[in-house]
Amino acid sequence: MTSVLYDVPGPKARRISLIGSIIGVIVIAAIVVLAIMTLARQGIFEGQRWAIFGQADVWSLILNGVGATLSAAAVAAVIAFPLGLLLCLMRISDVAWIRIPTRIVLEFLRGMPVVLMMLFVLLVFATSSFVAVVAGLVLYNSAIFAEIIRAGIQSLPKGQREAGLAIGLTSFQSRLTIELPQAIRRMLPSLVAQLVVLLKDTSLGYIVAYGELLRAVQVMADFLGPQFLFPVFFVAAAIYIAINLAVSRLAIWIERRGSKKAAGGMAHVPVAGTVPAK
C-alpha cells in the first residue's frame, strides 16, 4: 500500500510499523481477552445459556422480530419513495405558493427526531404501533429522498433542461421526462444508502412498543430470565448488522457498476450517508 501522505517505507520504517502493528494487535487482543474473561466470570459461556438457540420457539420469536423489522422497512420504503419524488417536484416547482410551503414542511420534517414523529402518530391518531412506525419512517425519509433527488437534479448540466424547454416541452414535462430519470440514476447509491438508514431506524420501533427484533429480545429476556439477555441480544445485534452490511454492500456495488456504465458517472456519496440521518 502506497499513499501520498508518507514516503514508501524503507527497512527501518517497515520495522517500526511492524512493531507498531504488533503492539496494536496485542493491545486490542488484551481488551478482547479482558472482555471475554469478564463475561466468563458472569457465566455467559455456560452451555445452557446458548442451548436455547436449539429450541424452535426461540428462533420463531427471533424470526418474527426480523420479519416485523423487514416488513416495516419495506412498507415504509415503498411509500416514502414516490412521496419523496412528489415532494421534490413540489420543492423545485416554478410556482411560489407550492415551492415555499413545501420548503418549510421539508425543513420541519428534517429537523425532527424520527422517534418523536412515531410517538406523535401513535398517541395523537391512536393508531397501531406498526402504523406509527411506518408513518414516522415515511414522513422523515420522504423528506430525505426529496432532498437527495433535488441534489441530483441540480447536479445535472444546465443544458439538459434548456434543451428540453427548447424543443417545446413544458417545464413540468422537462422535469419528468428529462431531468428526473437522470437524477434518480445518478443518485442511486445515495438512495440505497438512505435505505440502510431507514432499516436502522426501524429499531426505533422498540421505543413505541412495536414488536421488532429488539423488542423480541426484551420479551425473550423477560420470559426466559435475565441470564439469557446477553446471548439473545448478541444474536439479534449480529442479525441487524448483517442485514445492514448486506444493503451497504449493495449500495457500493451499484455505485461501482454505475460509474462504469453511466456516461456522466455517479455522484460519489459515502455509503450509509455522511449524514447519519435519524
Binding site: G24, A236, A237
Partner: protein
Amino acid sequence: MDVIIESLPQYWDGFLRTLFLAVVSGIIALIFGTLLAAARVSPIAALRGFSMAYVEIVRNTPLTIAFFFAAVVLPRLGVTFQQFEVAAIIALSAYTSAFIAEAVRSGVNSVPIGQAEAARSIGMKFSQVLSLIILPQALRTVIPPLINILIALVKNSSVAGAFYVLELFGYGKQLANEHGDAVMSVLIGVAFFYLLITVPLGYLATVVERKVAIAR
C-alpha cells in the same frame, strides 16, 4: 397551549439536558472521530484495520441497539453507571464518531495531492504532514457535513429519552402520559424545542458552506 406554558420548567430542564448530551458527546465524538480518520490513513496496518472495522460495524449498527447495549446489557454484566446520562453519552459518542471519521476521511481525500507531496518534499514526516498540512485544510472543507452530523446527533439524543434519561423526549413522554387530553400540544411543544436547535444549526451549515467553499 396552557399545558405548554404550565410545564415550561420541565421543557426547559429537558432542553438543557438535550443540549448537554449533544455538546458532551459531540466533543468526544469529534476528537475520537478525527483520531479514527488519522488512523485510517496512517502507515501502520493494524491501526488502519482497526479504524476500518470500527467504522464499518458501527455505521451499520442501529443506534437503539447501541443504547440497549449501554443501558440494559452492560449493567447486567456488572458495568453499572451512577447516572444513565453516562450510558447515553457513551452510546451517542461511540455511534457519532464513526460518521465523523468517515466525513474527515473524505475531507482528507479532497485535499489536492500536491499539498502532501510539497509537505513531504520539504522533509516533513507523516505526523507533521497530517497535523500541519492536510488536516487543517480537510477540516475546513468538511465543516458543513460535520454540522449536519451534529444536527443528527441532537436528534439522535432523543433515543436517550427511552433509556431512563429525562431529556426533551423523555419529558415529552412523561408529560403526554400526565396530560392525556392534550397530547398534541405537549408533543408540538417538544418539537418546537428540537427545532430551536436544529433549524439554526442547519442555517449555519448553509452559510458556512458558502463561506468556506474555496475555489480550487
